[in-house]
């Protein structure tokens, strides 16, 4: 097992020696920088660092926005516009924060997909994966409440729809759902009290995320990183110190990610938003077409694919809950899908199903995927979005069942003995890349 080797930090000055015997914080930082990291990590592994930067960006811009924002139902919308118009570089800070949420989710989905493909959730990294699921859940709650704060029409409609999901529990125990929603709203409808508490929680939760991120990194540093071949580190030859090798590689990836981020912030800041949210919330007018932000669309499609509300809500939460038990569902002895060709196909179909569900979530349920004819009033008939999302949702859940049975039966490809000599992998990585690097360097 890898993990932290004995510390090599040596305090050089008197102050460092004094501090080291009282609070060895410099030693901690030095050991983190020295952490032996598998040398074969590819660019999919840079998203952890990208996510850390996303979290810091959101917290810093969010704290500044909170200096100017007014969490009051009558003033919230205009205070956001005040930030955009009159606060120095307020437009920049707000656009970073609003698009930063989307970038955060983009990165976290890639990070999760990487973990699923390379089997990073498997023993001994189950706790690492579970903590990641907790972070994802907190992110979703934070993003949802943050979207409510500008108090536009879609903010309001989103708050109504999502909080009303809990009223489905009236079908379990009459009155339970109503009690929950009243408690969430702080009244009998979404209103000023709801906005104020959402603001409070939206400010709190990022710091909870930061706390769980510390645990996530701790849980990473006990077993050490997984890697693309999924074979544990066997010797020192398999690893490199985190700094400078991965600080520079992550740094490069972060800047490339920032280029995409900056494109949205400066050249298309409202491409991911919705025009209805530029209209101040009005409880008497409901937007014609309520859609959540893109990162919630797959779950929204699952919710709408089931006509019975309670089952719809359960399926939607189940789609997230199933991730928590993934380490115990996957029965395969082999971690990386690089050596599981069948599993790889099912995984790619899973990614396609999730994206397809996202597409469905952005459409009206009655829209047609394939139009076959027309009704008397001219409405198209055929294969509808709601049926498409039902099929995709079945596959979404079915994938986890497939993983269970596939692991018991499949014949994986031979797995390399270790990271340094992955000769059996074949496609694993080009031999002699060091020489090539020198030639090009």
């Amino acid at each position: 097992m890898s993990g932290h080797p004995p510390s090599t930090y040596e305090p050089k000055t008197g102050i460092e020696r004094w501090l080291d015997t009282r609070l060895p914080i410099v030693r901690l930082a030095a050991d983190l920088m020295d952490f032996p990291t598998p040398k074969n990590l590819n660019y999919w592994w840079t998203f952890g660092g990208i996510l850390a930067v996303c979290l810091v960006t959101q917290i810093v811009t969010g704290v500044i926005l909170a200096m100017h924002y007014v969490p009051n139902a009558d003033m919230a919308f205009n205070s956001v516009e005040h930030i955009m118009r009159d606060v120095n570089y307020g437009w920049l800070i707000r656009y970073i924060h609003a698009n930063g949420a989307s970038m955060f989710f983009l990165a976290v989905y890639i990070h999760m997909a990487r973990g699923m493909y390379y089997g990073s959730y498997k023993a001994p990294r189950e706790v690492l994966w579970l903590l990641g699921c907790v972070i994802y859940l907190l992110m979703m709650a934070t993003a949802f409440m943050g979207y409510v704060l500008p108090w536009g029409q879609m903010s309001f409609a989103g708050a109504v729809v999502i909080t009303n999901l809990f009223s489905a529990f009236d079908q379990v125990i009459p009155g339970l759902g109503t009690a929950i929603t009243t408690w969430l709203w702080g009244g009998f409808a979404v209103g000023g009290a709801t906005l104020n508490r959402f603001f409070s929680l939206h400010y709190l939760m990022p710091f909870m995320i930061a706390g769980v991120v510390v645990l996530h990194i701790w849980a990473l540093h006990v077993p050490g990183n997984n890697n693309p071949i999924g074979v544990e580190v066997k010797s020192k030859e398999d690893t490199l110190p985190f700094h400078p090798y991965y600080t520079v590689k992550d740094g490069f990836a972060i800047v490339v990610f920032f280029i995409l981020f900056a494109w949205f912030v400066f050249f298309a800041p409202e491409a991911l938003g919705h025009v209805d949210n530029q209209v101040m919330a009005n409880p008497l007018v409901t937007p014609a077409h309520i859609v959540p932000e893109w990162y919630f669309l797959p779950f929204y499609a699952i919710l709408r694919s089931i006509p019975q509300k309670l089952f719809g809500v359960l399926a939607m939460f189940g789609a997230i809950a199933v991730l928590f038990v993934l380490p115990w569902i996957d029965t395969s002895k082999v971690r990386s899908m690089r050596y599981r060709p069948t599993a790889r196909i099912f995984f790619l179909m899973f990614v396609a199903a999730a994206i397809g569900l996202g597409w469905c979530g952005g459409k009206e349920p009655d829209d047609m995927v394939i139009t076959m004819g027309h009704t008397a009033t001219g409405d198209p008939t055929g294969f509808s979005v709601v049926w498409f999302s039902r099929i995709l949702a079945l596959y979404y859940f079915g994938y986890f069942a497939i993983l269970f049975f596939l692991g018991l039966r499949e014949h994986p490809l031979p797995v390399p003995a270790n990271i340094s000599t992955p000769v059996l992998g074949g496609a694993a990585m080009p031999a002699g890349s060091a020489a090539q690097a020198e030639k090009k360097g």
Binding site: K39, F252, F266, D366, A376, M429, S433
Partner: protein, 287 residues
Amino acid sequence: MARKTLIAALFAALALGGLQAPAFARTTQAEFRPVPGGFGFEQPIFGRFDQASLQRGYKVYAEVCSACHSMNLMYYRNLCQPNGPFFDPKHPNPNDAPVCKAIASSIKVPDVDQDTGDPTTRPATPADHFLNPYPNKIAAAAGNGGAAPPDLSVMARAREGGPLYIYNILTGYTDAPAALTVPDGKYYNPYFPGDVSSAWSGPKDKVPPGGFIAMPLQLVPGRVTFDDGTPSTAEQEAKDVATFLAWAAEPKQTERKEAGMAVMIYLLLLAGVLYGSYRTIWRNVGH
């Protein structure tokens, strides 16, 4: 176990749910006509507002729209800030710009007499909001057949299509088809999102697109006389006021795009430097 129950529940729900999909009213809208010459400012990187068009657009707003529509997020000083309609580099402080002082002082805004506390009016200053034509929303609705004219501050960001939507609404009034019963005090506009099927007595599959709008046709040729001699066709007036409203909806748009250029150049250079560092540091690693 929980997973199997869930899947079973899913199947059960699918079986029970069956095929019934609810039929509900849909809003429709005619496809937008392009604006002559296009809205150059919409180009994501290099698009900039045409200052002459912004000035003409402000005049359309001031002489036509402002009779009924508020712009509560706008101040007279905004008109003279960098990239605004009347920005003059000789007067970088918009509160001191003579044009904005003159525009503001020609408008009387409500205030409170500092000696007696009685309501009064005074000439506006550049620091004042655009004057709201109605004292409150009830008055606005009462003066317009029950439909309060919406605030125009962010209108160009608040509708699908933005400025193109505004252009199409303003120039899109047509005579209603014979089979369409237009309610009193309303006007048919094919570009106004709505559902007119309940007022339609023609064939059910030929319901015209669009909706009923409470605002009558406003922009006709010659409604506004442009100071720069531009012929005031209805299309020109609509294009200019849509441009002005697009600027007003995001007055910092030009600053945003200019900053974006600098940021992109910096990030690309930094990415290049970091990639070089990465290749150098990793050159001896077989991986």
